[in-house]
């Protein structure tokens, strides 16, 4: 009994140590740190939206500005076609873009990790079937499938997250599968199996903890893709029509001809925000990957 | 006299993130035309680094000092054009592991022909093709095998292709870096016999690198034994093998009674401990921690390589003592 708690404490200490070590490595990665800082700023902005910008600014009927006014003291980023402040839209839009991105990622990672774990862990036909399924899903082009799904399911915030989630998991599944396959070969898994550990115990105690760091790094990369997808789907008019996101702002801008009128303030800022956030997630994800996989570190 | 290959006070240090790693430390070696010099030592003793430095093929992270002269001209300082002309035409290499040393997506004939065309731009297709066929037949392969890709050949055949390639431009010096690792014992013996036969027949000077002292004793005129980046013993082949002076050379010759036992490569029998980590070399004689004859004086100063018998030198202060 005491031996058990002792071992658990040791394991916990070792895990804490490796996290600390990883953090030190991560801090040395300059682009990864830059990405982390930018992300923190955006998250703070999204959380503090009610404090920075009045939610009334989102209402079309209560808009105070003129149509497509260029930037001024009152409207630092000008106004949209309804006379709303673009800056207010941008700040509130960050909430929807980040929220949908995160929600979609959770769905994608859940499906991808489950399928990957099971197809890697169980040999024989169940594993083979899951693997085939993953490969098939990889073949289906994302955007057409997403469009079809979004049309069939209807347009709402949750639906768009589901659409992105169920179309973006195969990559994660393949990655997790190969990692699971290599962990399965390790001696301690055999030993645990010989000692009578069931499938559930092996998966939860041995395979999952070892796959987790990889899942973690992959998650940040998936968020980048998910936010990009959300923007594109919203731009095509498949987002929640009642909420403002960066993608829906660009859809608006495109539809009212902000390009021909030269209203750059309505086109540039939302896109720039998308690029910044996606790039930051990508940089953080790559930094995490290289911390977890020293062979990759040579590469970048 | 200039000699074919003269290496003087050569040191090679790899710069890595974890600090400097000295691979070769102050080595002097000489090979005359038609002579075969064997270099023996465990993995990590610096013998492969030595071979690649002769053609200035060391990685860019390596810092090199001393001099390497081939036919009197200094390889380390010569201009790129001269160096390219020297490579393969003046001195060629038979690399270890032909599996990876041949380009997997080009036919072996093309690869043998490549140096012929590079070093003789006026060569016609006909002369090149017939020379390739001649080379393949010289190493016991049918000329038609020129059309094969590396993966279609057996390990022994690939190594034969490497040898044919090394002889293509009729170099005066061939460096053979463990030419038979990863081959079956039988095939090893055949490839070695082929190599030494051709070298003698063509009058080529050769540096043969191996961890197997018995093989070197059979094939070489002289042998140099390397340990932790230094030459610790050098002399006539038979004498080094049968009447070695340095305790390490003694352990090596005791460890390899026959050709190619892969397990013995890493842990010579009767020799306790591992080769030292080159980053943290012990003071004094590097071999002292593993040496059964070491005394306090061995740990204090580095023993110089001195002639103990005519033409036979060793770096050990205990030679001649009881």
């Amino acid at each position: 009994m005491s031996a058990g708690t002792e071992a658990r404490r040791l394991a916990r200490r070792r895990r804490a140590q490796s996290w600390r070590h990883g953090w030190r490595e991560f801090r040395r990665n300059r682009s990864g740190m830059a990405g982390a800082v930018v992300l923190t700023l955006f998250v703070v902005m999204a959380l503090a939206a009610p404090l920075i910008a009045d939610a009334d600014g989102l209402s079309v009927t209560r808009a105070t500005g003129g149509v497509l006014e260029s930037p001024s003291g009152a409207y630092p980023l000008g106004t949209d076609d309804n006379g709303r402040s673009v800056l207010t839209l941008l700040i509130w839009g960050s909430r929807i873009s980040l929220l949908v991105g995160l929600l979609a990622t959770v769905i994608s990672i859940l499906i991808g990790t489950t399928v990957g774990l099971l197809s890697g862990y169980f040999g024989g036909w169940p594993g083979a079937v899951l693997f085939r399924l993953t490969e098939w899903f990889l073949v289906i082009p994302f955007l057409p499938l997403a469009i079809v799904l979004a049309t069939v399911l209807g347009r709402s915030l949750v639906n768009i997250a589901i659409v992105i989630g169920v179309t973006s998991w195969p990559g994660t599944a393949l990655l997790i599968r190969s990692q699971t396959l290599s962990i399965k070969q390790r001696a301690y898994v055999d030993r645990s199996r010989a000692l009578g550990g069931g499938h559930g115990h092996l998966l939860a105690r041995h395979v999952l903890p070892n796959v987790m760091p990889l899942v973690f790094a992959n998650t940040t990369l998936t968020v980048a893709v998910a936010i990009l997808s959300e923007t594109t789907l919203s731009f095509l008019g498949l987002g929640d029509p009642t909420r403002v996101s960066w993608g829906s702002m660009l859809q608006d801008a495109f539809q009212v001809g902000a390009i021909t009128t030269g209203s750059w303030w309505f086109i540039v800022p939302p896109g720039l925000c998308v690029v910044l956030v996606v790039l930051s997630f990508t940089l953080v994800g790559q930094a995490l990957e290289s911390v977890l996989n020293p062979r990759l570190r040579e590469r970048r | 006299m200039t000699g074919l290959l003269r290496i003087e006070d050569l040191s090679v240090t790899y710069r890595t993130e974890e600090g400097d790693v000295p691979a070769v430390r102050g080595v002097d070696l000489a090979v005359d035309a038609g002579e075969v010099l064997g270099i023996a030592g465990e993995s990590g003793s610096g013998k492969s680094t030595l071979a690649s430095t002769v053609l200035r093929l060391q990685p860019s992270s390596a810092r090199v000092s001393g001099s390497v002269r081939v036919d009197g001209s200094d390889v380390l300082t010569m201009r790129w054009g001269e160096l390219r002309a020297l490579r393969w035409a003046g001195a060629s290499i038979v690399f270890q592991g032909a599996q990876h040393s041949l380009n997997p997506v080009r036919r072996v004939g093309t690869q043998i022909a490549e140096p012929l065309r590079v070093h003789d731009p006026r060569a016609t297709d006909d002369t090149v093709t017939s020379r390739v066929g001649e080379l393949l037949e010289q190493v016991g392969l049918p000329a038609a095998r020129a059309a094969a890709y590396p993966h279609q050949l057996s390990g022994g055949q690939r190594q034969r292709v490497m040898i044919a390639m090394a002889l293509a431009c009729r170099p005066a010096l061939v460096l053979a870096d463990e030419p038979t690792t990863a081959l079956d014992v039988m095939v090893q013996a055949q490839v070695l016999a082929l190599l030494s036969g051709l070298v003698r027949e063509l009058g080529v000077g050769m540096v043969l690198i191996s961890h197997d002292l018995s093989v070197l004793a059979d094939m070489c005129d002289r042998i140099a034994v390397m340990y932790a980046g230094r030459v610790v013993e050098q002399g006539p082949a038979a004498e080094v093998f049968e009447a070695s002076l340095h305790p390490y050379a003694g352990a090596l010759s005791a460890a390899f009674p026959r050709v190619g036992d892969p397990a013995a490569r890493f842990a010579p029998a009767g020799l306790p401990g591992d080769p030292p980590d080159p980053r943290y070399l012990p003071s004094g004689c590097s071999f002292a921690p593993r040496c059964s004859r070491a005394v306090d004086a061995c740990r204090e100063q580095v023993p110089p390589l001195e002639e103990k018998r005519p033409g036979h030198a060793a770096a050990c202060i205990r030679v001649g003592e009881p």
């Binding site: 073949v139 082009p141 057409p144 790039l279 | 390990g155």
Partner: protein
Amino acid sequence: MSLPAAADPGVGAALEPPAATGRPRGYGRYALGKVAGSLASLGFVLVVNFFLFRVLPGDPARTLGRGRFTTDEQLDAFNETYGLDQPLPQQFLTFLGNTLTGDLGVSLRYRVPVSELIWDRLWPTLMLVGTATLFAALIGIWLGVHAAWRRGGPLDRISTSASLTVYSMPEWWLGLLLIAALSVGIGPLPGLFPTGGLRSVDADPSSLAGVLDTAWHLTLPVFTLTLAYLADYALVMRSSLLDEIGEDYLTTARAKGLRDKVVRNRHAVPNALLPTTTVVALNFGFVVAGAITVETVFSIPGLGLLATEALEVPDYWVLQGVFLVASAAVIVANLAANLLYGLLDPRVRT
């Protein structure tokens, strides 16, 4: 000269005619396996297609004809026309038969067969994506090769960070910016390119002027897609060349006295090109998918614009047709990539 050659077990085998018997069988079996895999994928796509349009919506007629039917008779007529009143297995067989004979239904909006519509709209898309792929592959491979060969050098740093940035950008947003800057013009600068479409109203498509006019219209969209693909290819080429750089056969090539450039172009690049070729061919399969947004932004009447137009109606049979073609394109490109890889890599071919 006495050689111990005869004793080498490999040499006896070497006397046989080299691989004359092995070659066709090796590649044939490889190709056959790939074709079978593609057919299986195609089957899967058909099942997904059926599921998406007939099963998932619950009551397809109501969903598909949202707001279109005012009376029950109309609804029944619709159901009958499309066989939606039959049990699902029966429906699936009908669907399978129709699809395989090229019957993809009739567009609700244009009142013409979907297959005709798709055939007409295929060419602008192929032209746009094909040209962009070609440019992107050439420039991307060049960039990737030079970035990897001088890793950490100025070109590497610039090209890698630029690639990452473009990678993080919705390509249609890039298109919007280009239209704003180069078609509409900034301030006093006039627009240089048309804002969209495939040709001017008065252009005769069969004359040289008409062809040039189309090229003129395609410049910006092709440029946009080229940039988007370029980033991908440059990164792939870079990393596959980096995989080769440590290989021993490059040391051999250097030892032979080859110039650095020859070592790179004759030995390293051909090996590194193998994975890149696969990626390029694979990406070409995503033509339709990739063109959707760019065609929308530049209003080019291709498959992508067809899909977004169908969204507004919504024109289900058109969506289904485009989805089918888009998936089939990926499968075909996948197969082509595999077959090509087999031809280029002697380790697979022989």
